[in-house]
Amino acid sequence: MACNLSKSPTLDADRQGIIGATFQITAVSPTSNAAISAASYGKTTLTASPYEFTIVEGITNLATIVEGDKLNALIQIQEVCTGGNQTLRQFEMADPDHTASSLWIKGIKAAGQ
């Protein structure tokens, strides 16, 4: 599928997308194995892959727990897109005991909705 999340023009959210569109996320690292352990968005909580969600109205927390198998590895949370994934967040796995992070996603209406 095509990328359905784009940067939010305002700081009240990190990303935005059309209400009703779906998006799938994954974790990658150029130097280690990386994987999503669990993720939640709105009323949906997933504890095993694949991590796919439907964009809902309003500003909603996309929370992820991401793990890597090497200390200080660069970890990227990406949206899975046809033709190339896009990175939503990246960080160093400097402290494996604090691996949860949030992105607030704004659901917006499509033109004509």
């Binding site: 990190d14 997933l46 504890t47 727990i65 198998d69 960080f91």
Partner: protein, 506 residues
């Protein structure tokens, strides 16, 4: 209200202890990551969205840092010196009077309870009770983490110092018996210390265990599929609890009207021309303080953050358990048990344990050997070496695509009772099987020498996609006088249901 009680009631102690103190400035912190590429462009060229993501409260470790700052503010406001409380706790264990005894001062021993309570909530000490026995198990790595001592040796660390490895593999537990009718007569330990530890009147020390575990070489050839698979198979309950608490805390702050302005101001400051070098670190530090200001105004934020920190600890322990077998196929442990059993001399058991798990997790093997010694012979001529034991178990659980799943298990246990059982009957006891009171402490030898062998084979059947399993086991024993079985050979089966699956939201 005493300060230590206030700490517990507000949850501030938990927040404080579970977050590592900064050593200097903000550069040491894992949050925010100032070395991130986001900060490398010239200040005016920095992307405001990326700055917001890296410095905002959604970044990894951000809520932990905010929790730490709130806790520190609260302690500073009340002029609480945590180190002093810890010192009082230590003194009360050594010298303090029992809080349950007449005329005793309970001030310092309550500090002990408070400190233990904080450590317990943070997962550094676990308490379990079976019958009248309470067991306190210390998570040594977590205790060191709470105290901010040394560099952590994480499960995923490729290289650790020797001290780090020792700390990572260490565990200790103490058992206390609160029932005077079944407790050993004497322990030689301070009753005040035991009462402070257990929170009950007149507990008796019944034993302790020290264990040190070592991993074999780390498996460096993991595939992404194996790594993801191990996390997918992990119990869902700690994940969902962690996420729920994380979202609750994050949303509580993010929805505050003051947060967007604080983030706006922060991002603007990080795009100012002077936002470089040490000044950048100061500005980032100020940003976090401003987020902490916003958080401080949220009603009930202390409890919300405490719940988050606590659930994070639980998740981390469960994750390490799930990944440990994947990273390390060979595991070794050495263990020392000191037992203070009713009417018996104290005994010491030395144990060696080995565990192996195949890369796929299909095959597991465990073996252990141990020797038990009497610490005193009570004047008898019995051998000091009480017994020697050995045990091995093999488990095979193939990964099948069929609806009917099975797992095979076989175990064997051998114990050679080298010395007769030695009972010490106190002067208040009766001679065995009579109502004749004994005039004084007496030692009795039981004719219990000889080998014991027990073997068991088990198959566990289950249906894929259900939480029901049916274990069927066959057991054989060479003698029955010292085990609970009534016959030398027997079989049993049962039906079990995994109720924890009901907690999974998927």
């Amino acid at each position: 209200m005493k300060k230590s009680e206030l700490l517990l009631q507000s949850g501030i102690g938990l927040l404080l202890m579970t977050c590592t103190f900064p050593q200097s400035g903000v550069a040491q912190a894992t949050y925010p990551e100032l070395t991130n590429a986001v900060f490398q462009p010239a200040p005016s060229d920095r992307d405001q969205n990326e700055l917001g993501e890296v410095i905002g409260i959604g970044a990894p470790g951000a809520l932990d840092e905010i929790a730490r700052r709130l806790a520190k503010r609260a302690l500073n406001a009340q002029n609480i010196n945590f180190a002093q409380i810890g010192e009082s706790a230590s003194q009360s264990i050594q010298n303090g009077a029992s809080p349950t005894s007449a005329g005793a001062t309970s001030l310092v021993s309550k500090a002990v309870t408070s400190v233990l309570g904080i450590a317990e909530e943070a997962g550094a000490i676990n308490t379990s009770t079976s019958g009248s026995t309470t067991t306190l198990t210390a998570n040594i790595p977590q205790l060191f983490n709470l105290m901010g001592m040394g560099k952590r040796c994480y499960l995923i660390s490729d290289s650790c110092s020797f001290g780090g490895v020792l700390v990572r593999g260490a565990s200790a537990s103490v058992s206390l018996n609160s029932s005077s009718s079944t407790a050993p007569a004497t322990s030689g330990l301070s009753s005040s210390a035991l009462a402070a530890l257990s929170g009950t009147a007149n507990p008796v020390f019944s034993g302790f265990t020290l264990q040190e575990s070592f991993h074999g070489r780390k498996n460096g050839n993991l595939t992404g599929t194996e790594f993801q698979g191990a996390l997918d198979k992990m119990n869902a309950a700690p994940k969902t609890a962690y996420l729920a608490a994380f979202v609750a805390a994050g949303d509580a702050i993010h929805t505050q009207a003051a947060y967007p302005k604080a983030l706006d101001d922060c991002v603007a400051s990080l795009r100012n021309p002077d936002a470089t070098g040490a000044r950048l670190a100061d500005l980032a530090d100020h940003c976090i303080d401003s987020f902490a200001d916003v958080a401080e105004a949220v009603p009930g934020i202390t409890a919300t953050l405490a719940k988050y920190i606590s659930s994070e600890e639980v998740y981390d322990v469960a994750r390490d358990a799930a990944l440990s077998a994947l990273f390390y196929r060979n595991n070794y442990s050495i263990e020392y048990d000191y037992s203070n059993v009713l009417n018996q001399p104290t005994q010491s058991t030395y144990k060696l344990i080995y565990g192996y798990q195949s890369k796929s997790g299909v095959f597991q093997a465990t073996a252990n050997g141990s020797a038990t010694l009497y610490n005193s012979l009570e004047g008898s001529s019995v051998s000091r070496l009480r017994s020697a034991q050995g045990a091995a178990q093999l488990d095979f659980k193939p990964s099948l695509k069929t609806t009917l799943q099975y797992a095979l298990s076989a175990g064997y246990y051998f114990q050679d009772m080298l010395a007769d059982g030695l009972l010490t009957l106190p002067s208040t006891a009766f001679a065995p099987g009579t109502t004749v009171p004994l005039p004084g402490n007496a030692s009795v030898l039981l004719n219990t020498t000889g080998p014991i062998q027990v073997g068991q084979a088990k198959i566990t059947l289950s249906l894929k996609g259900t939480n029901v399993s049916i274990p069927i086991a066959f057991t054989g024993a060479s003698r029955t006088d010292l085990i609970t079985a009534n016959t030398r050979f027997g079989g049993n089966f049962g039906i079990s249901y995994d109720f924890s699956s009901l907690l999974s939201s998927k």
